[in-house]
Amino acid sequence: MSPETLPALLSPVPDEDGAPFWEYAARGELRVQACSDCGEPRFPPRPCCPHCRSFAGQWRRMSGKGRIWSYVVPHPPLLPAYAAHAPYNVILVELAEAPRIRLVGNLVAGPGAPLDSVPPERVRIGARVEAVFGGDGLPRWVLERS
């Protein structure tokens, strides 16, 4: 299939709390919600800080560095857009600055590269990764060059 005929991947359907994450991501920034009063980062976004119950929040810019906590390699039956790339990887990345915040993503060969652009055998737990942004505004990840 040529890229034009590939069915589209799902886009996030943000709620009010999550919308800023996706707006920043569309500008190529990885930001995480944090409490304006006690400073604790939290994810997924929500209106109130579970540590100090403050409703004042901010969006803190992250370095975009992290490590792979785990991963899976889905095979069909899948939605058609994803089946077209299967088997592909889905990784869970622990952020360097906030290890309890783990973002679901994909390990790709570079910005804009497809979900299956890194062979599954190259994915491993503990690998250092870095966020990249392609045309779709979703954060994806590449292996950090050491």
Binding site: V13, W22, P44, V72, P74, L78, Y88, L115
Partner: protein
């Protein structure tokens, strides 16, 4: 909670056939299962005054009540989070009966998952919160979410695919003894398991539960009333729900240790309010939508230590005659996947002494609901 312990009993169980495809509607199947359970108990439909089911149950209380000619209902309840709700339906009825809110309660679950649509394919429903964080990246199905935990668990504790196979095999072996099971005449071998297709690596076809059409129900009454029923009472000794602090939904990747889920929370409450400990459990029915859930639950409910769930399965421990026989009807992996309700009824059969894979002298049974999601559990005894 002194008023809860052994104050109520399951006195009737019922089920429809299990199959990949059944011709009747979910509503009709629900009605058949409820009637079968009442008949088993020897209780007239007009005496039912309480109902409980899952929020994912498509047939509402009003439909069951009017189709079957039930009496005035004074208690009804639905529990959320899919397969996490199974045991809680019985727990809610037991609490209602123990506190005088009702006298005869029926819990049920009817599902056409074999011939019906897969929930994860409905992206309009699935995509908003919390799925905005997972689905766009291709983490689409429950198996993908659990596969993520399974990979980490295997990495962290050295559990292997052979351990997962031990779980699948124990369930299949019991199904091979159960004529009602979908996998009754279909043995599983290690070679079949190891060479089967991947669904979400590290999980293969046989790590997944069956897509099933079917319905089940059970009847809960007071200890006193139970003495007049047809069957030997199976007492609800303890029950618990578990929704841990800062939990998320299907799984929680956002805490210190995602490998300790709602089972740990439910277990703490369950054992605190029981006269029994894990060592006293003769047989267990452990929610098995996916094989790794059994390893995590064995740890969560205290049958072994952290990281020891894989090793626990070695040497036939989960088989009949083993240290802890599990899922003696075949479970969700090999009997039927009806959101775990078959595990409740199988627990009752064990304590009646009527299981197709009877554990000799079984007098205590743990039944659990889905791990990963907000969950529930029952400790049954006779």
């Amino acid at each position: 909670m002194a008023g809860f312990k052994d104050a109520t009993a399951v006195v009737g169980i019922g089920q429809t056939d299990f199959a990949k495809r059944l011709p009747e509607s979910e509503k009709a199947l629900a009605c058949r299962a409820v009637l079968a359970a009442l008949d088993d108990a020897g209780i007239a439909p007009g005496e039912v005054d309480a109902l409980a089911s899952y929020t994912m149950e498509e047939t509402d209380e009003v439909e069951v009540a009017k189709a079957l000619g039930l009496g005035d209902l004074t208690f009804f309840s639905k529990v959320g989070y899919g397969g996490g709700g199974s045991c809680a339906t019985v727990a809610h009825l037991a609490a209602a009966v123990a506190t005088g809110q009702a006298t005869v309660g029926v819990a049920w679950r009817s599902r056409k998952r074999g011939s019906g649509p897969r929930p994860w394919k409905n992206t309009a429903v699935q995509l908003p919160t919390p799925a905005q964080w997972t689905r766009p990246f291709g983490l689409l199905r429950p198996v993908d979410e659990i596969g993520m935990l399974a990979r980490r668990y295997m990495h962290q504790y050295g559990a292997s695919r052979d351990h997962l196979f031990n779980v699948a095999l124990a369930c299949r072996n019991r199904a091979n003894q159960n004529p009602a099971a979908i996998m009754y005449e279909r043995p599983l071998t290690r070679d079949m398991y190891m060479s089967s297709r991947w669904i979400s690596e590290p999980l293969c076809l046989f790590d997944n539960c069956l897509e099933t059409d079917g319905a089940l129900a059970c009847v809960v009454v007071s200890r006193e009333r139970a003495r007049d029923c047809r069957q030997r009472p199976v007492y609800v000794h303890a029950a618990a729900q578990g929704l841990p602090a800062q939990h998320h939904g299907m799984v929680n990747y956002w805490n210190d240790d995602p490998l300790t889920g709602p089972a740990w929370t439910a277990a703490r409450h369950l054992w605190k309010h029981a006269d029994l400990a894990p060592d006293d459990v003769d047989v267990a029915q452990i929610y098995d939508a996916f094989t790794p859930l059994i390893l995590l639950s064995l740890e969560g409910y205290g049958f072994c230590g952290r990281g020891e769930g894989g090793a626990f399965t070695e040497g036939g421990a989960l088989e009949t005659g083993g240290r802890l026989p599990v899922n003696t009807g075949g479970g969700g992996l090999s009997e039927a996947y009806v959101h775990g309700f078959n595990l409740i009824n199988e627990g009752v059969k064990q304590l009646r002494g009527t299981s197709t894979a009877q554990v000799p002298g079984a007098s205590t049974c743990l039944v659990t609901a889905g791990e990963g999601v907000p969950t529930s559990a029952l400790l049954l005894r006779n």
